[in-house]
């Protein structure tokens, strides 16, 4: 048996006298993350601003630690509030990358969970479940979607309370090991924090995700289609703009996710149309163009929900 264990860590170095923030910024790779965030995510100006601020704060904190001015790991737990489909999960992925590049988490992976992943069904089931999830997330970011479901005041023996206690302990004692992001609707999260002050006091960064405007959603549709090598022809573009305006007022509207679902169905209709209409060979343009009819066939234009919509469960994506 041969083992070559990692070298033991070296002793403390002597503190430098000055720190070059610009160089630290370049070396960290934060610029690339912020650029990717800007390039791939439409809108979200306040969110992007908050993330830039957080990055600066962490760079300065790092510099202060290098000069021996700070020693404690800052509290990095966050809450992301906003309606479904506003980009919370997607931004959390970028946040994990950012924290990794800045050295605040060692691995940078994102573990996404909901109440069911943390809370058990019977006595003695919850603690091991919660700990298992926490251990998986260590070195990265734990993203708890719809975190307020952990707390069910109507049932005083709800096992969610046990998960909350373990979470709070680990959020406090293992701040070097993982960052927790709680996500969900703003109003419910506020009520959750009111009844669980332990969480409020452990969360340093609250980031709000606004709903997208109709123009932003149309741009998001373009981005999504470009990623998959599709385009909207002019009639489809007009139809998509009308679709967005109509869809917003209907039940279960979920911002960018509704757009993604609408485009999935439009591609389905396009494929059907090509299959039924095509008389001869099809070129690349024909195969990648969504026409007006592919959008206008949606039930959204007849005042109703699409019957072929995905089940509501996808909200937990």
């Amino acid at each position: 048996m041969t083992t070559e264990p990692a070298a033991p860590q070296t002793g403390p170095q002597t503190a430098p006298q000055t720190v070059d923030l610009a160089a630290a910024y370049e070396a960290s790779g934060v610029r690339e993350v912020l650029k990717e965030l800007d390039d791939t995510m439409i809108g979200l100006a306040p969110v992007k601003q908050r993330i830039r601020e957080t990055a600066s704060l962490l760079l300065v904190d790092q510099a202060r630690r290098q000069l021996g001015l700070a020693t404690e790991t800052p509290t990095l737990h966050m809450s992301f509030t906003g309606n479904p489909g506003t980009g919370k999960t997607t931004v959390a992925l970028k946040m994990a990358d950012l924290l990794h590049r800045l050295g605040y988490v060692r691995k940078g992976h994102l573990v996404t969970v909901t109440r069911d992943d943390l809370v058990g069904q019977y006595i003695g089931h919850t603690a091991p479940k919660t700990k298992e999830v926490l251990k998986k997330a260590m070195g990265g970011v734990l993203f708890i979607d719809e975190a307020y479901y952990l707390y069910r005041p109507e049932n005083e023996r709800d096992y969610g309370q046990e998960a909350i206690e373990i979470l709070l302990q680990v959020m406090e004692n293992n701040r070097d090991d993982l960052v927790v992001i709680l996500a969900g609707y703003a109003d419910r999260m506020d009520r959750f924090f009111d009844s669980n002050p332990g969480f409020r006091s452990r969360i340093a960064h609250h980031i709000e995700f606004p709903d997208y405007s109709n123009e932003e959603l149309l741009k998001i549709a373009d981005v999504m289609l470009t990623e998959q090598n599709y385009t909207l022809d002019p009639a489809a573009r007009t139809a998509m703009a009308d679709y967005i305006a109509a869809r917003r007022g209907q039940p279960h509207f979920a911002n960018a996710r509704s757009i993604r679902n609408a485009l999935d169905r439009a591609r389905l209709r396009q494929a059907n149309r090509l299959f039924n209409e095509a008389a001869g060979p099809l070129d690349g343009t024909a195969l990648s163009t969504i026409a007006g009819a592919d959008i206008l066939a949606s039930r959204v234009f007849r005042g109703g929900l699409d019957v072929d919509r995905k089940p509501a469960k996808e909200a937990a994506e």
């Binding site: 083992t3 691995k107 260590m138």
Partner: protein, 139 residues
């Protein structure tokens, strides 16, 4: 008498950070790490109690250190060790094993001589601790 079993047992006690770095080495090799404890430290006792399951899908070794500390809370007066298993050969082989917790007092072992026929002598060792019943060892 300081128990010398496994790796690093001639070094001073490992800090939590030392433990983390060692376990990370194992995890990065694709080995499963786990925690075990015992109050019967005889060198031939290979069956220590398992503290939870081996960890197969924890990318960061902070998870292992977390379980070591949970185990210390429950069994702080006993021996605790960390193991790393390599299953790549098709069976579980131990790649690493090191002690991460010891009782405050380590009474060690006594040598027992048994006289047999023809003045033959058999030797064996016995842990002083195991003279007490299970649960009452190491105070």
């Amino acid at each position: 008498m300081r128990l010398r079993q496994g790796q690093y047992s001639f070094l001073p006690d490992l800090s939590d950070d030392d433990i983390r770095v060692q376990a990370q080495y194992a995890i990065d090799k694709g080995w499963a790490v786990s925690v075990e404890y015992t109050d019967d430290p005889h060198p031939r006792n290979s069956f220590w109690e398992m503290w939870g399951h081996p960890m197969f899908d924890t990318p960061d070794a902070a998870a292992l250190v977390y379980e070591v500390n949970e185990c210390r809370k429950a069994h702080g007066a006993k021996y605790i060790r960390v193991l790393a298993f390599d299953a790549s050969a098709g069976w579980e082989s131990i790649r690493m094993s090191f002690i991460v917790n010891r009782p405050a007092e380590e009474p060690g072992f006594r040598l027992v001589r048994q006289e047999g026929e023809g003045r033959m002598i058999r030797y064996t060792i016995e842990s002083y601790a195991t003279r007490e019943p299970e649960g009452a060892r190491y105070a």
